[in-house]
Symmetry: C2
Subunit: 330 residues, 2 copies
């Protein structure tokens, strides 16, 4: 079968579209003929951390397709079922942190940038029927990340003011829609005027140009909750935007890892800083119910054929995308 | 009446033992003849921030004494009642952050370093009878701070491992006893070998010299909860000691305000950083019930006469104390 793999030098230089062996579904597994797959910033990290000595690995965490083979002992699925992959392996119940054997599909376990994948049936859910293949393929990791950050960790409540930074990215577009559907007033930052316009269409009540004085744009009214994925570059602005007792959920650092905090202001303000990453199967199922109820759809930036996954990754790397980038496969 | 006030130059130089006018209890208030008062690090901040132009202010947040006058409309108290002061003004119910009109007794409202105080009856609770006057006088602010940090914010559970930094200080000695009574395994750091010995007597299961490799002393077993009051100097060690999903409650910064965090490790670890300061009346009452049930007593470092409050503050400033410093008044 055809697949997009990393093998060799770190980074995009070490990737290629090539042939990989077909595998049969073992006990408890299903084989899925993939229709679509989705990109995540994690893919870029995986290939940048790849070593020359590593074997060829099919990258990619997100995907959707049709079950074509059902292994022994699998219940609840049959050939022809349209499914979506839950890529956070082994993290089933909602716990404060994932179990020790947790990993994310797409390294070291072969991922979704391929014509087919064999995976435990426990990592598969039926595709919500209102979603197209293009929408389903880019949904999993971004949407479960947004769901855990906003609901499990941030405990968003109707009527709250929520600030979402770097809101044009893959996760941000879900955060805006989820927060809006949950009854919050949504403030969203972005560096790009074009993206800010699209964020308003997506439901943002107030858009904030990243480089400006946020509190001025917010007319001095601070927020209850910040969901941040930018990190160092604007972390002080995030904290400064919080009401006393407010919460900042961090799940990304696209602009710098090392942040500084005046800890005295932090504890006098009774603030909360909560780390979040990915989500459990319980949260994935909660997310699927939530989007189905509110008919929320992923924002699709652009689709490429599987053979052009390298170009798709380049676009993601340069954060040119508004929403999710996907791959057509079958 | 005699009182210890700040008036003039910032710092200890601007303090004096002097005469201040007696005041009668107005409606809703009581006048308390103080028997004892307790010192807090906040007293040092108040006098260091004091300006030449400020009027004379009686400092001090903690105190205990006997009601000698009951204002109009006060219910539940009578002359002769033995009481303890709840010094966090106007913060009654347990909320994420105190209300806007919240302040702490002892600036700008006259405090407890005086022969008498007039205060709202809502800020007064009956003294637990098993406590001596010396114990009751140093209890309020440290103990409610420890209670909120450990229970409301840290949500400590039986069987958890809890690490308490700078544990020889006023709040730390309550934290150790509270965590122990709650069924946790208590690890405590201190720079002083002498204090570490006393912390073991107080109930610490493991004591950790501040300058050593904490994880080595803990034999690699990380903790569920850190309660930190040291700040910058050892903040990285605190985060490094936490299990995935673990929580750090910060309520002090005796060794530096500006902390640095690798935010990527923080969110991958699903960590929580929660700021805490003081506590509500609801928490104060919870604390009084808890210490009464477990017969917990404050650790008293040393008592001075009110006239020597300056020397008492010097001792606190140099962090020579193990536990709480108090003042004998009546």
């Amino acid at each position: 079968m055809k697949a997009f793999v990393h093998e060799g030098a770190p980074g995009l230089a070490g990737t290629k579209y090539t042939d990989m062996p077909d595998v049969a579904a073992g006990p408890g597994q299903v084989r899925i003929r993939l229709k679509t797959a989705g990109l995540n910033r994690r893919d870029l990290r995986v290939i940048s951390l790849g070593k020359e000595s590593d074997p060829a690995i099919i990258i990619g965490s997100d995907g959707a397709g049709v079950i074509e083979q059902v292994g022994l002992g699998v219940e609840g699925f049959k050939e022809g079922d349209e499914v979506i992959i839950f890529p956070t392996l082994h993290w089933l119940e909602n716990t404060p942190a994932p179990p020790e054997n947790y990993e994310i599909l797409g390294s070291p376990t072969h991922g979704t940038f391929a014509e087919a994948i064999v995976i435990s049936a426990g990592q598969v859910e039926l595709k919500p029927s209102y979603l197209s293949w293009e929408e389903a393929g880019v949904l999993p990791l971004s949407a479960v990340t947004a769901y855990r950050a906003l609901f499990t960790r941030g405990q968003v409540q109707p009527g709250q003011r929520v600030l979402i930074t770097g809101a044009g990215g893959g996760v941000g577009t879900y955060l805006i829609q989820f927060a809006k559907a949950a009854g919050a007033t949504v403030c969203a930052t972005s560096r790009s005027a074009q993206k800010r316009e699209q964020l308003v269409k997506l439901g943002a009540n107030i858009v904030v140009p990243t480089e400006e004085d946020w509190l001025e744009v917010l007319e001095g009214e601070k927020v209850d909750l910040v969901i941040d994925s930018v990190g160092a570059a604007t972390f002080h602005k995030c904290l400064n935007a919080l009401k006393p007792g407010g919460t900042l959920v961090t799940f990304g650092a696209t602009a710098g890892d090392e942040i500084k905090i005046d800890i005295r202001s932090f504890f006098y303000g009774q603030l909360n800083l909560l780390g979040s990453t990915m989500g459990s199967r319980e949260e994935f199922r909660g997310m699927l119910q939530f989007i189905t109820k509110h008919e929320i759809r992923p924002v699709i930036d652009r689709y490429y054929p599987l053979s052009e996954a390298g170009q798709a990754l380049s676009r993601l790397k340069e954060t040119q995308n508004m929403g999710n980038i996907g791959l057509h496969i079958g």
